[in-house]
């Protein structure tokens, strides 16, 4: 029984992380129509940022906040070079461009920092709370709390703020939004930067548990995509739900089947969803008008 609860708790922590990354992914998809395969690499950037800042004896929480900014700045440069010029081209080209960005970032960091994993230890990572015979690592609790707060903040931002209204308008119908004077290009810029910066935080959060290494982003990207498909593109509550679902499937298959088949099971679940309900679990159907 305690093992069961332990698995659930671990799954929730991973799920919250995936939700946070998927949130950035789905925002970017909504506004730019870009399936960003370099999303996970920004988690890698955030994680390296956190690692180096902590090497300079910076406080962990502060380092995470700075890694938000670092990821955002790098995102800014990459958007200008790799995505902005393609804004009118086919979505497939943007997707390929993001694959190129991913290859570039992974290998550059391998070149600069070596492929060896780096350990980040903070005041949370060693400690754990024991409740009802279950060990809850403080870091995992921190991950869940911070992720949920950020998801909530983003939700609020989209629903309540002027920026959010523009983002929603731009993702529903860019042409009309432009007619109404919404600067869709600038919105695309800001959304991209915000989306990857959120992922930067996710990287900083995961660093103390899974270490920091150049290829860490790839599997995060894949999981985030599964989350987005499960939750429906452009759907924030869906992303959170989907995040938890993927996290739980993953930790249950690791706990009861085998760690090796974890990815296979996650993607099989994805197929199941796509077969049964191709629009995602939580999304509404939108037909093509003839």
């Amino acid at each position: 029984m305690t093992e069961f609860i332990q698995i659930i708790v671990n799954g929730m922590a991973n799920g919250a992380l995936y939700a946070l990354i998927a949130l950035g992914l789905t925002l970017i998809y909504g506004v730019m129509n870009l399936s960003n395969f370099a999303q996970g690499e920004f988690a890698m950037i955030g994680a390296f940022g956190t690692y180096f800042l902590m090497q300079m004896h910076m406080n962990y929480m502060l380092a995470i906040i700075l890694s938000f900014i670092i990821a955002g700045l790098i995102g800014f440069v990459i958007h200008i070079l790799a995505f902005h010029p393609l804004r009118k081209s086919e979505p497939l080209n943007m997707m390929l461009s993001s694959l190129g960005v991913s290859v570039f970032l992974v290998n550059l960091s391998q070149y600069l920092f070596s492929p060896n994993p780096k350990v980040v230890s903070n005041s949370f990572s060693e400690k754990s709370i024991q409740a009802f015979g279950v060990f809850l690592s403080e870091q995992r609790i921190l991950i869940v709390i911070v992720s949920l707060i950020l998801c909530g903040f983003t939700y609020w931002l989209l629903e309540r703020s002027k920026f959010g209204r523009s983002v929603r308008a731009a993702s529903l119908d860019p042409d009309t939004a432009t007619l109404y004077g919404i600067p869709t290009n600038r919105i695309a810029f800001l959304t991209f930067i915000f989306g990857v910066a959120l992922t930067g935080i996710a990287g900083g959060l995961t660093a103390p548990i899974y270490n920091v290494y150049p290829t860490m982003g790839i599997s995060l990207t894949l999981k985030a995509f599964v989350v987005v498909v499960l939750g429906g593109m452009g759907n924030i509550p869906g992303a959170i739900m989907g995040g938890f679902i993927v996290g739980l499937i993953e930790s249950f298959s690791a706990g009861y089947i085998s760690t090796a088949f974890q990815d296979v099971i996650v993607f099989s679940a994805l197929f199941l969803v796509l077969i049964i309900k191709p629009e995602g679990i939580l999304s509404k159907v939108q037909g093509e008008k003839v």
């Binding site: 998809y29 399936s35 070079l81 790799a82 010029p85 393609l86 081209s89 086919e90 979505p91 497939l92 080209n93 997707m95 390929l96 461009s97 694959l99 190129g100 960005v101 991913s102 290859v103 570039f104 970032l105 992974v106 290998n107 550059l108 391998q110 070149y111 790839i218 894949l222 995509f225 599964v226 987005v228 498909v229 593109m233 085998s258 090796a260 088949f261 990815d263 296979v264 993607f267 099989s268 994805l270 197929f271 796509l274 077969i275 191709p278 093509e288 008008k289 003839v290």
Partner: protein
């Protein structure tokens, strides 16, 4: 019909010339590069059927490639079937896998399809890596028999290259015949506008499934050839990077054309070899080039240069292009109110 015959003759001549030339290549390194490039070209043509002709994305083609290679590996090493029989089974089986993958995914579009096919690739790779008893896990399968064709041992690179060039030419011919037929017309229609395809009586899903099946089968064929040439296979050849590299080859070269994927293969193979000089920076530069080409030549290298050359040589064409750019009706067809 004359155009078809011309193409047919050109391909036959090219095939014979290349096959003979391949016997005179002395440099073993060069031979290996050519053979692997030819296998990549077959893969690129198979992805092109999906991406270029029917407008579907595949980010998991390494899965079919792997299934083809492993079918040959497993059947040949464990069950001692002859290479050719293994190859036939491999092609049929990966075609079947294409059909099965297509059943749920032909209803999907764009990004969803991309992620679903990507998932397929991840699942296949996961199985190859972890189903120890059958696939040998990360160690892979060794000592696959080199094929012999009419008592010509293909374990010699020259012969293998000649053989694979012949295969490639035949494939090009078959694809050409296909896209210049009602099937190709139906594909191009459903790629450009599915609703038009519906109302002209094209069974859209059946044609998409056909593309998936053919594409899977051809990629499996490439896998079988790969297994026969390398005699050793392991899962890391058939991973996500491979899938991405295949689709990149197609799009960079120019999807939806026959020459595009071939040109893409040639350029990227050359680029890959050249970048070996840069050692650790190899993939960094690769990434930069990839982004640069997409940003500057999004339509693909072959169509880009083709248009350039055409507009250089014919004034009439240039005038026509001017006309198009001021066409009052050039706007996107609005969807009906």
């Amino acid at each position: 019909m004359t155009k078809t015959r011309l193409f047919y003759t050109a391909i036959t001549i090219l095939c014979i010339v290349c096959s003979i030339a391949s016997l005179y290549i002395q440099n073993l390194y060069l031979l290996r590069v050519f053979i692997l490039a030819a296998i990549t070209a077959i893969l690129a043509l198979s992805v092109n059927i999906l991406v270029g002709y029917t407008g579907q994305i595949s980010l998991g083609h390494a899965g079919f490639f792997g299934i083809g290679a492993y079918m040959v590996g497993i059947l040949n090493v464990n069950y001692h079937l002859s290479f050719w029989l293994c190859m036939v089974i491999a092609v049929l089986f990966s075609g079947l896998m294409g059909l099965i993958l297509g059943l749920p995914t032909t209803k999907l579009k764009g990004h969803f399809l991309g992620i679903a096919t990507l998932g397929f690739g991840v699942i296949v790779n996961g199985v190859l890596n972890n189903w120890m008893q059958v696939t040998g896990g990360p160690q892979g399968i060794r000592d696959i028999q080199s094929p012999t064709l009419f008592s010509i041992p293909l374990e010699y690179g020259n012969y293998f290259l000649g053989f694979i060039v012949a295969c490639l030419s035949l494939l090009v011919l078959v694809i050409y015949l296909l896209i210049k037929s009602p099937v190709g017309r139906a594909w191009s229609c459903l790629k450009q506008d599915e609703i038009t395809a519906y109302v002209t009586g094209i069974h859209v899903y059946r044609y998409k499934l056909l593309a998936f099946t053919l594409s899977g089968g051809i990629a499996g064929f490439a896998g079988a050839l790969f297994a026969g040439y390398m005699t050793f296979i392991s899962p890391d050849t058939f991973d996500l990077n491979q899938s991405i590299s295949i689709i990149t080859t197609v799009i960079l070269g120019g999807s939806g054309t026959i020459a595009g994927p071939l040109l893409g293969t040639a350029l990227l193979s050359f680029l890959n070899e050249w970048l070996r000089n840069f050692d650790e920076l190899r993939l960094v530069i690769y990434g930069v080039i990839l982004v640069a080409v997409i940003v500057f030549i999004p339509e693909g290298i072959y169509p880009f240069f083709k248009n350039k050359i055409i507009s250089l040589f014919s004034r009439r064409k240039r005038v026509n292009q001017l006309k198009t750019s001021i066409d009052p009706h050039a706007g996107k067809d609005a969807v009906n109110e």
